[in-house]
Symmetry: D2
Subunit: 324 residues, 4 copies
């Protein structure tokens, strides 16, 4: 392809707080470079269906602080088929889009990679997922907001737990990854954290519960949903072992991914959105734009995959020490 005159932008996969800040940055940076910008509604589904809208300065006014994504998002089955991608490319041509920025997670990048290779369209990706589980970036857009949503919920539950001397099992998001559970667990002073990446012996958990009973009036156990059967299983086991404990289960669910993004997520999204447009103009393509050690970092799409085993052992040790 030749010179870039028009950039398209879409969000795909699960929504994450900060996606709007990223869209805003892509739009404003494009305008700054005197490019046209087209917003694609509903991710790859909308690209296939032709739901594209030209964007201007006003389109992204006052969205930096809003959760969700004004472009909407879906998971698209059709885009996994050659027919779907062909229809998508027809709309790319119809709207004269010369390069694309996609905001999402591993699935989004996989689709982008295939599409970009089939049709030669320059595509860059921004990591928009609350799970923080992508290789190639220290933080994903939405993670910081999600863990703050969790600690804010657990702070509330702690009030009740303390008042009633209860054991609370809190299930947080993370199908393959315990990163949300780990950070938010440390942040909320959880007495134990159970994650898929680290096999905590349930007997060890029992031992700690028994021991801390004498000097703790409440206990919070943080469980990642992807850890075996999640919070329910842990809750049942504790009830069985300690029938006298007042055990409660709270599944935080969707409140984790909503809400106004934190400053860190807004700044990260802004930086990455600016960098993506700059990089497209500089010839980058087929890469995810992330931040590593506070510097912009590019990772080829096929490497920007989920990593599920690299839990910092220091953080696990911190949990052990601080939950004393």
């Amino acid at each position: 392809m030749g010179e870039i005159k028009t950039i398209g932008v879409l969000t795909s996969g699960g929504d994450s707080p900060g996606m709007n800040a990223a869209i805003r940055a892509v739009v404003r940076t494009s305008l700054y470079h005197n490019l046209n910008v087209v917003g694609v509604m509903r991710g790859y589904e909308g690209l296939i269906a032709g739901e594209l809208v030209p964007m201007n300065r006003k389109s992204v006014s006052n969205i930096i602080g809003r959760g969700g994504t004004i472009l909407k998002t879906t998971r698209s089955a059709a885009f996994r088929t050659p027919e779907g991608r062909m229809a998508a490319f027809e709309n790319i041509q119809k709207f004269k889009i010369d390069a694309l920025v996609v905001i999402g997670g591993e699935g989004t990048f996989t689709g982008a990679n295939v599409f970009s290779q089939e049709y030669g369209l320059p595509v860059l990706g921004l990591p928009g997922t609350i799970d923080n589980d992508l290789i190639g970036t220290d933080y994903t857009i939405g993670y910081d907001t999600a863990i703050n949503n969790v600690i804010s919920a657990v702070d509330k539950i702690r009030d009740t737990a303390e008042s009633h001397a209860r054991v609370f099992i809190i299930e947080v998001m993370g199908r393959d990854s315990g990163l949300i559970a780990l950070r938010s667990g440390i942040g909320s002073g959880a007495e134990a954290i159970l994650i898929p990446e680290s096999e905590t012996d349930i007997e060890e958990l029992f031992r700690r519960l028994e021991e801390s009973r004498t000097y703790k009036s409440s206990r919070i156990i943080m469980v990642a949903e992807g850890r075996h059967a999640g919070g329910l299983e842990v809750s049942e086991k504790i009830k069985e072992r300690f029938p006298k404990y007042d055990v409660r289960l709270s599944i935080l669910g969707h409140i984790q991914r909503g809400g106004s993004p934190t400053c860190m997520d807004r700044v990260l999204a802004s930086r990455l959105g600016v960098a993506a447009v700059d990089a497209l103009l500089a010839g980058h393509k087929g890469e995810m734009v992330g931040v590593v050690n506070n510097a912009i970092h590019f990772t080829p799409f096929h490497n920007a995959i989920k990593h599920i085993s690299e839990i910092n052992p220091n953080l696990l040790r911190i949990v052990d020490i601080l939950s004393l």
Copy 2:
């Protein structure tokens, strides 16, 4: 009994935000009148077990903004037995308590009523429950915070719902009462509200969902937990009827009752706590102290029961109109 020199205070039943503000008001007003104050830990359980602690100005410093209750709370089975109440009264005598303020709900007042009649101790009650379901007060301590917790959670869920064009079923607290669902439903712009007090035809709900599908990108259905089988049942029925809808269930659970109390709950608790001590000195006993039409109002304990049928029909009509 003769002159009141020492006042006891306890919290009982489910905790509610604002209980600490009420405790603070009882303690400070007692000190203002040069009385002694004794805090009873863990409600009637602690009264039976002798867990009583003298309180001073410092005991209640900086608690006005904290959720839960520094005195802890339980539901006591022992207090329902004559033996339990006898043990409790022995501690009343041991600590020279001349009058008692109990903060809780219907069950708390029932216990207080029996105890007060058996032993002639002056007892007044403050309505501390998030359910707002007591006759004799326009608002209970904790209700305003609870409904604000709900709308704050639903605002977050709305971000996700909008981004994905989903139907969200939100189950909120209220075993016998839809008051939390009703107010927070109006406050969060819910498309429908299902409560125990009003039999919404499920077919009518289906009709509205179908109709609004054309012009609403997301729909929020608020369900009180006490409405049949709660949110799960509603969720299953919608999925069955509209298999193409992206339907999600979120059970808000314990985050509803925690957190720093709102200004309204802090002021209400402060007013009621002051009024309770003033009233004990003026000879009141066996009553709940509430607020009706912005004035302090006393209701005999046996009348301060749950009312489950008085839903304001205007509010239901407002839901119908505004969810258009």
Copy 3:
């Protein structure tokens, strides 16, 4: 005028949280009654300038939780002139508006009253102001959010005050009225509250500060801006009298009137918006629609004025007792 087919709605004066919820209710209730609705931008200024836009269901989607007003607001000097009002009425005719709902405070209603009498247009007003200072309603739209904004700010300041053993003077809004200072002062556990309506002897304040020094590590003095020279004056006097105290002044300013409205403000605004349209259709005009003792209440515009002297003496006594 004859049958009402089209309703206009505008916001005027200072913005207040919940105005959007009121606009939404006016729009949706009008549509419910199969009426047309026209939004007037920038209050009376926009009415004069012809900035009117037809509104539909989508116009008010997802605004219930947003601060400010989507219709914008101004204070209009031109509307105080006969020429201004004549230009305004020409636009009323041009857009075939049969009745008008104005959301604002005393100034807004004064303008509405004159306009309505000059041109015979039915106009109803909704109390949209954070000051809660209007006769004819127990609460104004925005007041509850404002006092919660204040206590949330003071809770933060208390952290610092406690850590450093400081005396903090907090100036809050209220040019003629101490209602914000009074409620938020009780809610934040202020040690003293200085308001225009009640002449607190400065020597009495000094006495309390001196006395509480021995058992309080921090002190918060809440001052309404309309009390003499506001917080600065109080701050200077305390510094002069107690040069060793670490005294700080914080003027909260505009953060008080922004932010997502509380549940109470959203419900109040929804109820009043529905009631206003219902009432116009029932023939009401020239009145403010408020809530008194939890029921809808109509007050002729010329009575819906600021009341500056009716401070509940019980609340002042509560401050004295609880700040012990």
Copy 4:
């Protein structure tokens, strides 16, 4: 000195959110290593005055989420004198303290450095300041909470600014550093950011204001307090140049440093607190413990000073682009 058996901990200088999480981590990690821990009240002042208290598990229960510092803090003039430090060391000996952890900023470390060299006591420092201006750590404890406090305040002000089409000047903390202004300015979508480190031409600001007038309904100018005369000066100049603009000044003040710490600040404080005790046992002394590129990093006290010139030029460019 020989084996470490007792560790002292204190907070000094301005309080910052997360200090409590750091204290908790120091205490729990000491107990984990079977050491004694002594809390020093009111920083170096308390060390001189002998205000030391033994700490146990309970001392730090449920403080991870609280702003301020339970140990209180001061700026101590006496500790800058040899007599003051001698008195302090006498208390160190009296309480058998073998090593000390001090939490604060540059001034705190300067004092620690002198004291440690004079008396041979091992001392480590943790960066507790909202300003994020210390060499040797990517983030200081409290910075993330402070910038989130700012964006939350500005989000509220934006509601009002939009409703009235105003220009708002927001003055934020940062006497020597624009780091708070810069990040929070990007995060709140400020139209311009004025900081001490970068001389923005006031004429350039005027030009941007004039240009954006046509397509922006509100403008937010973020000013660091240390930039010339701060927000007031900027505000006056804009009013003078554009007399028709509705210009408002808001000085955020102390709300910036209070409130419950963010997850990031709690995790950072926890990591650093654990690392400090581990490091003391491993023989470290005379250093600040920070985090660089997500790994624990030690910096000698004399290097852990304020750095005032290293503003990331990319961030300034981002402001220019995104404020378009």
